[in-house]
Structure formats: structure tokens, C-alpha cells
């Protein structure tokens, strides 16, 4: 395996940092990934050398910025194997991407139509649909989850019908790390003529995804979870579907003709990219994708699986520790509680040891309601973590447990 974590860690300046006198151990990768130097440098390089507004300028800076910006679109297209470049819409992040779709279907659905959401979703893949359904009276149905946190596929097959117009599911649950069987969900949905949106916020960083092979209708992700900067993401949609839905925002760039009486929208992808985009961010996103491909998604996946297994078996040795979503098909996330201790207390004490974990509901209140818990401690791993860090985590949890009992 051509993968050396020590060398890779040198690419991430933040890993030199001390927290409360201890070396930073970053186990909050699912919230946001850390950023390699090449990505940070690409942002400085943009502002130092060719910062300019894009698409409309006749001058050289604008041309360079446009080329790099469009080059980034090409990289995303290639990496995810979209059919057309214009199927990649740059957005400010997954949340924005999902809202484009929910808004787009606002006037395409009515009160006989049904939409299906999974019980494992992040608020970003629930609230936009609730807002839509409130307006067009479409009916929102939920795929329930079982005691392990897995989607009940049989129930999905019972819920779906010819009335179902849209199904939206995350690829990987941010709270439990469970990988959902999206291939099967897509196949079943398509049999009923329903479209599928996959929220890939938590999958894109962990394995390679092929839009054409998946035959997915819409897919979304955020750069800041992919070694890229904050404030950027993308929406993928099949061309004929994106052409069919209304734009979400009005503004510059997304029009081809404007009079006070009437406006014609521009072609894809511009129709959905109103206003000056996050130019430096989009360009840095492309650099981040290049960086991850250089490391290799196969390597990333293999290494992260090893880490996850190690962490899983190690943490299970702790008395009273319960893991939620402890299933076979998962990636890079362990969500747990320790009997009698509030997750917030554990998180606070781990921080004192320089360990960054997330505690709380992780924007998935329905999952918390399902397990009847106030929250969990979530350890989310990435290829920048080491096995030694898991040992340190283990020791720190033991200490926290003894302090708090």
C-alpha cells in the first residue's frame, strides 16, 4: 500500500498545533475536514496573482480566473464521472444544493404526490423538503430505521408507489457512519419512476463515486468535508432534470436576457449560479480533489477501514460504552455514549486532552429521538488520523469516565 500517514500528516499545517498543551488530535472530520497546504496555498495564490470576477471580463486576470474556475468544474465532473460538465453546479455547500432541488420541485409536485425521506437524514436533507411540502401539500413519508440504526428496506418497498416522485437519502449517515444501500434504493425508486437525491456530504470524502454507474439523479457534497475550503459545494443533477427545474436564485450570470417585463434564463450551469460565486473557493476545491486523488481513494478507504475497526474494537472494551449504529456496512464514524454520563461532559474533558470530538445531536434530532438519547459523543475519523491517536483517545475516555462517575 502506497500510503504513508506520517508523510501525509506533514501536508496539514494544523496538525502541528497544541491544544491545552497537548498535540491536537482531530476526530471531528465529519463536521469539517482539515485542509492540506496545497489547498491553502491555492487560495493565497488566487488572491496574490489573479483575483478577478469571472465570465464577463475581457482582461487577462478575468480570463485566468475563469479558466481556473471552469477547470475546477471539469475536475469535479471527471472525478465523479458525470456525463456533462454543465451537470456540475457550484453552490455554497450541501445545504444550498439540496435547497436548489427542493425549490425546483416546488411547483412540479402537488397534493397527490409523495416524497420519501430516510429516517437517518441530516436536518439539511429534512427541513428543505418540509418547507417545500408545506407549500405544495406533497406528502412526506419516512423510511424507518431499526434498532441498529439501519434503514428498513422492506418498509421502503412498502412505502414507495407510483405516487412517489422523489426519494432523498444520504449516502452515509453523519451521525452513525452507516452506509445506506443507495444502489438498491435507486433501482427500486426508478422502477416506480421516482427520482433520487443522494446527500453525499459524508460519502464523497471516503470513497470514489461514479454518477453514471450509480445512475443517480441528484447528488450533493460540500468542499469543506473534502479537504477543501468552507463556503463551497456542488449539486450534480442529470442535465435533462436540471433543465426542467426553475432556478433558485435570481441575479447576475444566471440570465441571458433581462428587461423589466421579462427575463430569459441562461443555459446550464449558469442558470443556477446567480451572482459572483466563491471563485477562490471553487478553485481550491478542485485542488483538494486533485490532492485526494493523488493519495488515492482506494488507499484512503483501506486505511480508514483499518482505523475504524481498530477504534471500534478498542472502544468496546470500555465498561458501559454503547455504540450506536454498530453495523458491518459503515465508514469512519463511531457514535457512542457511556452509561450514566452526559456526552457533553465527555467532550469537555476530551478537549482538555487535546482531543476534538463532537457531542450532541449532530443535526439529526430524529435519530436521537429514535434512540431516546439527548445526544452522542461522535468520533469521526479520516486518513490523517493514526492508530496511536486512537490509543490516546481510549486512555482519555477512561480518565474522563473515572472523573465523571
Amino acid at each position: 500500500m502506497n500510503f504513508n500517514v506520517k508523510n501525509i500528516r506533514k501536508d496539514f499545517p494544523i496538525l502541528k498545533k497544541k491544544i491545552n498543551g497537548k498535540p491536537l488530535i482531530y476526530f471531528d472530520n465529519a463536521a469539517t475536514s482539515q485542509t492540506p497546504k496545497c489547498v491553502i496555498d491555492s487560495i493565497s495564490n488566487y488572491y496574490n496573482n489573479y483575483n478577478s470576477n469571472i465570465h464577463r471580463g475581457v482582461h487577462s486576470l478575468s480570463e485566468e480566473a475563469t479558466e481556473e474556475y471552469e477547470g475546477s468544474r471539469e475536475k469535479i465532473k471527471q472525478h465523479f464521472n458525470a456525463q456533462f460538465k454543465e451537470e456540475i453546479i457550484f453552490t455554497s455547500g450541501t445545504t444550498h444544493s439540496i435547497n436548489i432541488v427542493s425549490n425546483g420541485f416546488l411547483n412540479q409536485l402537488n397534493n397527490n404526490d409523495e416524497i420519501i425521506v430516510s429516517g437517518l437524514e441530516h436536518h439539511s436533507n429534512i427541513v428543505p423538503w418540509q418547507m417545500m411540502a408545506k407549500k405544495n401539500n406533497a406528502k412526506l413519508k419516512v423510511i424507518p430505521i431499526d434498532d441498529n440504526g439501519e434503514l428498513k428496506l422492506d418498509d421502503f418497498k412498502r412505502l414507495i408507489s407510483n405516487k412517489t416522485k422523489l426519494v432523498f437519502v444520504n449516502h452515509v449517515s453523519n451521525t452513525l457512519g452507516i452506509i445506506n444501500p443507495i444502489e438498491e434504493i435507486i433501482t427500486v425508486a426508478h422502477e416506480y419512476g421516482a427520482l433520487v437525491l443522494i446527500d453525499g456530504a459524508q460519502s464523497a470524502a471516503h470513497f470514489k463515486i461514479d454518477f453514471q454507474k450509480l445512475d443517480v439523479d441528484f447528488y450533493t457534497a460540500s468542499a469543506h468535508k473534502l479537504c477543501g475550503p468552507t463556503g463551497v459545494g456542488f449539486l450534480f443533477g442529470k442535465k435533462r432534470l436540471l433543465e426542467k427545474i426553475d432556478p433558485f436564485m435570481g441575479g447576475g450570470e444566471m440570465i441571458s436576457d433581462v428587461t423589466f417585463e421579462e427575463t430569459t434564463y441562461a443555459d446550464l450551469p449558469h442558470k443556477f449560479e446567480a451572482g459572483t460565486p466563491n471563485i477562490s473557493g471553487v478553485i481550491a476545491f478542485g485542488v483538494a480533489i486533485d490532492y485526494m486523488n493523488k493519495i488515492g481513494f482506494d488507499n484512503i478507504q483501506k486505511y480508514e477501514d483499518g482505523l475504524l475497526n481498530y477504534a471500534n474494537s478498542k472502544l468496546k472494551k470500555i465498561d458501559g460504552l454503547k455504540i450506536y449504529g454498530d453495523v458491518k456496512n459503515k465508514t469512519s464514524v463511531i457514535s457512542f455514549n457511556i452509561e450514566g454520563i452526559h456526552p457533553y461532559d465527555i467532550g469537555s474533558i476530551l478537549d482538555k486532552y487535546g482531543i476534538a470530538v463532537r457531542t450532541g445531536q449532530h443535526c439529526t434530532q430524529p435519530i436521537m429521538d429514535h434512540f431516546k438519547i439527548p445526544g452522542t459523543v461522535r468520533v469521526s475519523l479520516s486518513f490523517i488520523n493514526t492508530f496511536e491517536e486512537i490509543d490516546i483517545l481510549f486512555d482519555a475516555i477512561i480518565k474522563a469516565q473515572s472523573m465523571l462517575s
Binding site: 452526559h342 457533553y344 469537555s348 457531542t359 439527548p374 472523573m403 465523571l404
Partner: protein, 138 residues
Amino acid sequence: MTIENLQQNLIQDFEFFEDWTQKYEYMIELSKGLDKMDQEMKSDKNIIKGCQSKVWLHADYSDGKIKFLADSEAIITRGIIAILLMVFNNKTPDEIINSDISFIEKIGLKEHLSPNRANGLYSMIKQIKFYAIAYSKN
């Protein structure tokens, strides 16, 4: 004692601790000494929103002073609540309104009071001041 004096005492107490573990152990002690709130008082009316660990705060006004009751699910949060009640409980609205809360920073617990922590303590202090303003108008 005045709020100012109480705060000075706390700052001095905390200066004794050599590291964060001693400080946290002390807070966990305080937490165990704090009265639990009755279940019926843990109502939606008393809950402080936006918290990772829920915080409840109840206030009563009598004899010109405000009596606070507060609780939380998390033990460290309860420890800080205990500290806040040491300082603000049984004080007049005016005393509370005019008090400074920077002592929290001086005893090194600032991290629990940033709006970020979302643990309700930040909102709890706001709410304490809020009650004081409300009762001062009585």
C-alpha cells in the same frame, strides 16, 4: 456578601488549583452539592433553548431579592451552575444588573460560556440578567 466579594472569593479559590483536573474535580464536587430541581419544574417554561446539555432556570422574587433554581443534565454544566448561583442567588435585581460577569473568565471557565458551547450557560447568564431587569421594574 456583595456579588463583587463573592466573585473575588471564587477567583481566589480557583487560583489554588494547579491544573485543570483539580479545577474540574472541584466543579464536579460542586455539582454533586447542587440541589436537583423537581421534575415538574423542569418544564418548557424554564428550559433554556439552544443547549447541547439542557439547562433549566427558575426564578422567584420575594423580599426584594431573586431566588434562582437551576439544573442541567451534564455534570460539568451543573458545576458551573453551582458557581453562578453562589454569586447571583438571593441578590437584589439592581445588584445583578450592575454586576460584571468577567470573573468567569478569570477563573478559567470561559470556554463553557462562549455562545459556541451551546450548553445553555451563555443563555443562562443572559436569562439571569433578564429576570433581574424584569423584577427591577416591579
